[in-house]
Assembly symmetry: C2
Homo-oligomer: 166 residues x 2
DNA sequence: GCTTTACCTAAACATAGGTTGAGGTTTTAG
DNA sequence: CTAAAACCTCAACCTATGTTTAGGTAAAGC
C-alpha cells in the first residue's frame, strides 16, 4: 500500500539522493533504466524518491563490492515479496546468498594460485598438458558451482609436464 | 638476431596457431594490435609466426586466468630483455609477480567477506557509518597495494552501527 | 584450371557499467 | 521578475576483451 501511491512523506530530488548516496545523478538514471530503483515524478516531470531508495542503493553497492553483477542484484532484489526495499532481515538473507558466491570466487582464485605454484616449478606451459590453461581443466566452468574444487591432484600434476610442443 | 630476420625455421600460419593455442583467429589479430604478439608476412601478405608464439600465448592466458589485464600482461612482457618470449625462468619471475597481485585480490575479497559477515548481524547499511561501503573505508583504493589490510577492527565496528539516516 | 578453403583489412557489434554532451524545461534564490 | 542552478531526454562516448561481417586476395586440392 505504501508503495503504490506515495503521498505526504518527504520526497528526495535526484540531486539530494545522489549527494547522500555518493553516486552521480547519471548513475541514478542508469539504475532506473535497469529497474534497480524507481522514482515518481512531480508536476514538472522531475524525479522524486522515497527515502528508502537510499537503503536500496546501499544494498546495490554492497552487492557490487562483493562482485555481484547488476543483473544478478536486480534478480535478487526482484525476488523480495512485493519487490520491497530490503529490510534488515532481507539484507541478511541476500548477503548470505551473495556471500556464498563470493566464497566461490575466493575458492576459485585460491585454486588458480595453487596451480600457478605448481607451474612455476614446472615452467612447461604446455598447451596440451599444463593444468594452467588446459581447456577441460579444473576451472573450466568458472561460473557454475564449486565443481573444480574436487580435484586437487591436478595442481600437483603440474610438477613434471614439460614437453617439446612449444 | 634470431628475432629480426627469421629465415629457415618452420613458420606457422594464423590458422595453425589458432588451432594449437585454442584461440580464435580474430583473437590473434586482436593480440597483435595490442602488441602482445608479433608476426611476419609472407609474399602474399599472410601472417607467419615463429613457434614460440605459442608459449607467449600460453603466458598471456595464464596471466588472464590470474586476473591480470592484457595491458598489464603487455607491460610485464615488455620488461623482458629484448622483449623476448619468456623462458622458463622468465615465466617463474612473471608468475611470482602476478601471484602477488592475485594474493592481493584474494585478500581483498576475504576482507569484504569479513565485513559482510559483520554487516549481516548489523543490518544497518548506513551510508554514513557502515564500513561496507563507506567511501574512505578499508577497501577504498582497491588497486594500489594492501593498504586496506591494516585495519581489521573495522569489520567488528560494523556490529552496532544502525542509524536512522536511511 | 577451377573451386574451395584460408587469409587479408576495416568497421561494426557485443557486454558491463556507467559518463558526457546537446538542447530544452523547471525550480529556486535574490 | 529574472537569472542561475537543477533537472529533463536522448544519443554518443568510454574501457576491456574480443567476435562478426563485408568485401576482396592468396593458396591449396583435385
Amino acid at each position: 500500500m505504501s508503495d503504490s501511491t506515495p503521498r505526504d512523506e518527504p520526497r528526495l530530488s535526484v540531486g539530494q539522493v545522489a549527494k547522500r548516496a555518493d553516486v552521480a545523478v547519471s548513475t541514478l538514471h542508469f539504475y532506473e533504466t535497469k529497474g534497480l530503483i524507481r522514482s515518481w515524478r512531480n508536476t514538472g516531470n522531475q524525479r522524486r524518491y522515497k527515502k528508502d531508495v537510499l537503503r536500496r542503493i546501499a544494498v546495490i553497492k554492497a552487492g557490487q563490492k562483493m562482485g555481484i553483477s547488476l543483473s544478478e542484484i536486480q534478480e535478487t532484489l526482484g525476488q523480495l515479496p512485493q519487490s520491497r526495499t530490503p529490510t534488515k532481515e532481507d539484507w541478511a538473507n541476500m548477503s548470505r546468498f551473495w556471500q556464498a558466491q563470493l566464497d566461490e570466487k575466493i575458492a576459485y582464485m585460491m585454486r588458480v594460485r595453487e596451480m600457478v605454484d605448481g607451474c612455476i616449478g614446472c615452467g612447461c606451459l604446455s598447451m596440451k598438458s599444463c593444468p594452467m590453461y588446459n581447456p577441460d581443466d579444473i576451472v573450466a566452468k568458472e561460473s557454475n558451482g564449486a565443481v573444480w574444487l574436487e580435484q586437487p591432484e591436478q595442481a600437483r600434476a603440474a610438477k613434471n609436464c614439460y614437453d617439446k610442443e612449444n
